[in-house]
């Protein structure tokens, strides 16, 4: 049997055992998200499609699936959704700018070895492709952060209906701060795991510090990690603000 199929089956069984109906739903959501990703890549193959706009669409769809399908459509998920989309747009602008200035787009000298049979003149803007890649790798963490802040904020508002908007905002930010550390850790380790081969490569071939820090491949990975951290941080005030605004206004009516 195929290893991936076997692992997927084990994951499905575990998810259903631990999570019941919600577990099954979470598994299906991963599947749907994968489908969205693959379809997006296929549309990106058309040179006339703008990868940035496509990424915004895809991220919106992915956060819809994660928020509205696994959880329900309610005021919490709606504010979390809005915050996710706003954060993605801000982050995408930052990442595109950074990719352009640091020239990390495309493949590096180190990667080109195995790819020499391919033509690199494929007419698709790789600045945008790299920006899309970076934003997609943090979308899961951003959505998680949004829902993790918005839902306890709703609980707080429910238990203290008279809370002022400012106070509610503050408690949202403080909840966000508490999970900032673990959430950045999740992504950092995920990226470290992926970059392990590269780190060993640098050490085995005795790259100097100067060579490592200026190389395209290292810069690309550093920028991915930093942008992920920035994304996780800026969504805290955004979600807190939007949720506080939405909850306290509706409470006044």
């Amino acid at each position: 049997m195929n290893t991936i199929v076997a692992l997927a089956l084990i994951l499905l069984i575990l998810m259903v055992l631990v999570g019941g109906r919600k577990g099954a739903k979470s598994f299906i959501a991963i599947f749907l998200n994968f489908a969205v990703l693959i379809v997006t890549i296929f549309i990106m193959l058309d040179p006339s499609a703008d990868p940035i706009i496509l990424t915004i669409f895809a991220s919106t769809l992915i956060s819809c699936i994660t928020l509205f399908y696994i959880n329900d459509v309610n005021s919490t998920t709606k504010t979390a959704f809005l915050s996710t989309v706003i954060t993605i747009v801000i982050l995408l602008a930052l990442i595109t700018f950074l990719t352009e200035t640091t020239m990390i787009q495309g493949f590096s000298e180190e990667e080109i070895g195995e790819l020499y049979i391919f033509s690199f003149y494929i007419g698709i803007d790789f600045v945008k492709i790299v920006a899309a890649m970076i934003i997609m790798s943090t979308i899961g963490a951003i959505t998680d952060m949004a829902i993790a802040i918005a839902s306890p904020m709703r609980e707080i508002h429910y238990h203290h209906p008279t809370i002022s908007r400012k106070e509610l905002y503050r408690s949202g930010v403080s909840i966000g701060r508490d999970i900032l550390g673990t959430n950045t850790n999740t992504l950092f380790f995920a990226f470290f795991g992926g970059y392990l081969a590269l780190l060993i490569w640098f050490k085995d071939l005795s790259y100097t510090f100067g060579e490592i820090i200026n190389s395209k491949v290292f810069s690309e990975e550093m920028i991915t990690i930093m942008c992920a951290g920035i994304g996780i941080a800026i969504i805290i005030p955004i979600t807190s603000g939007i949720t506080a605004y939405a909850l306290v206004r509706s409470g006044d009516n």
Binding site: N2, T3, A6, F107, I122
Partner: protein
């Protein structure tokens, strides 16, 4: 000025010292990185003039259209004994910039001098790399500042924990490379234990909550590694393609397993700490809460975080393949080949991480219950 004065008044003495130290570090490092040319042995040039001398439209074998430009660059040498002289460089790039790139006035580049056959005065060279250190430093500062502004204390702790983990991983790899015969998996196992203890203590402080989370993380990640390892053995790694792993100087199988081990650790830690803090919070609110009630609430919390946590890992791994998927597909590679070669390892990583996340939910729950019951007995 009045606002600034008010702001400074509001700061405590400690904060003031921290801010001043940060400001000095920032200014010092930026000044250094913009003037560090003499520290590099490789010649560095700054582009002063560019002109495009040739434009060709190309169509490759797969009908991909692109435009090729040939750029002549005049640049000034910034270091070495030729400092101050100007040099002529050639650059070819395409609009897609999938491998090549366009250079603009002000860019700083590493170059190699070409041996000049005739003794004419003008220097010629080949471009090797962009000088990216200054950008990396600025992005790093942006990251540090945003994390500090938004996260305050917790932001500082996550930066410290990131720095320690980077140093630790780098040291562990040095040990691995310089001592022959040590197994990478063993080294990663030891590092995982250290990572877990350091990160969780930094994020959560020394208390029973943290101890429960540390035990749960270690059990969860070792168990998930074991499951993945057994599955890979039993299915004889059918469908896993190591060819495109890239950057290989060592046997791919070991490097992959070690990466998988470390990669899921963050997510497993996150689940473990979430489970143990919520169980402890419930217990602290009501010291007489029944174990069954704790179990039930714990499982509910676990269900809530399961979906988003697996999603985080899934996207972190699979998205990295986007550029190569596009390159393969644009070059007319068959679909199933493209997917299996570019995604099989990433999917395995994501699934193994998912398994780690899900099994850590009950493990984290029971570890927290164990510590809670011990506390109860002491009451």
């Amino acid at each position: 000025m009045a606002i600034l004065h008010k702001l400074i008044k509001k700061l405590t003495y400690k904060q003031l010292i921290l801010f001043t130290a940060l400001l000095f570090c920032f200014i010092g490092s930026v000044l250094f990185v913009f003037h560090n040319h003499s520290f590099y042995e490789r010649p560095i040039v700054e582009v002063t003039e560019t002109s495009i001398i040739d434009t060709t439209e190309t169509v490759d074998n797969h009908n991909n259209e692109d435009i090729l430009y040939t750029q002549i660059i005049i640049a000034e040498i910034k270091n070495g004994k030729e400092q101050g002289q100007s040099i002529k460089l050639m650059n070819e790039y395409s609009t897609s910039q999938a491998y090549t790139q366009e250079y603009q006035v002000g860019n700083e580049l590493f170059i190699k001098f070409d041996e000049n056959e005739s003794s004419n005065s003008s220097l010629v060279g080949t471009i090797q790399e962009v000088k990216r250190d200054k950008y990396i430093l600025l992005v790093a500062w942006l990251f540090v500042l945003i994390l500090l502004i938004v996260g305050k204390r917790q932001g500082l702790f996550s930066i410290i924990s990131l720095a320690i983990n980077v140093l630790l991983i780098s040291y562990a790899l040095d040990v691995y490379i310089h001592t022959s015969g040590t197994s990478l998996l063993w080294i990663c196992g030891i590092s995982v234990v250290l990572f877990t203890i350091i990160s969780l203590l930094l994020v959560n402080g020394r208390n029973e909550k943290t101890y429960a989370a540390i035990v749960a993380t270690l059990l969860g990640s070792f168990l998930s590694l074991l499951i993945t390892f057994l599955v890979m053995k039993l299915t004889s790694e059918n469908g896993l393609r190591y060819e495109e792993m890239g950057f290989l100087t060592r046997p791919p199988h070991v490097v992959f397993m070690a990466g998988l081990f470390i990669g899921s650790l963050g997510a497993v830690m996150d689940v473990a700490i979430t489970m143990s803090s919520s169980i402890f919070t419930l217990f602290e609110k009501n010291n007489h809460i029944a174990t069954d009630a704790l179990k039930k609430s714990g499982m509910e919390i676990g269900k809530d975080i399961m979906g988003t946590m697996t999603n985080i890992l899934f996207f972190a791994y699979v998205s990295g393949s986007i550029p190569s998927l596009i390159l393969y597909l644009k070059n007319g590679s068959p679909l199933s080949y493209t997917f299996s070669i570019n995604l099989s390892l990433e999917l395995t990583r994501a699934l193994a991480g998912g398994i780690g996340i899900v099994i850590t939910i009950p493990i984290g729950l029971y570890c927290a219950l164990f510590f809670v019951n011990r506390k109860k007995a002491n009451l």
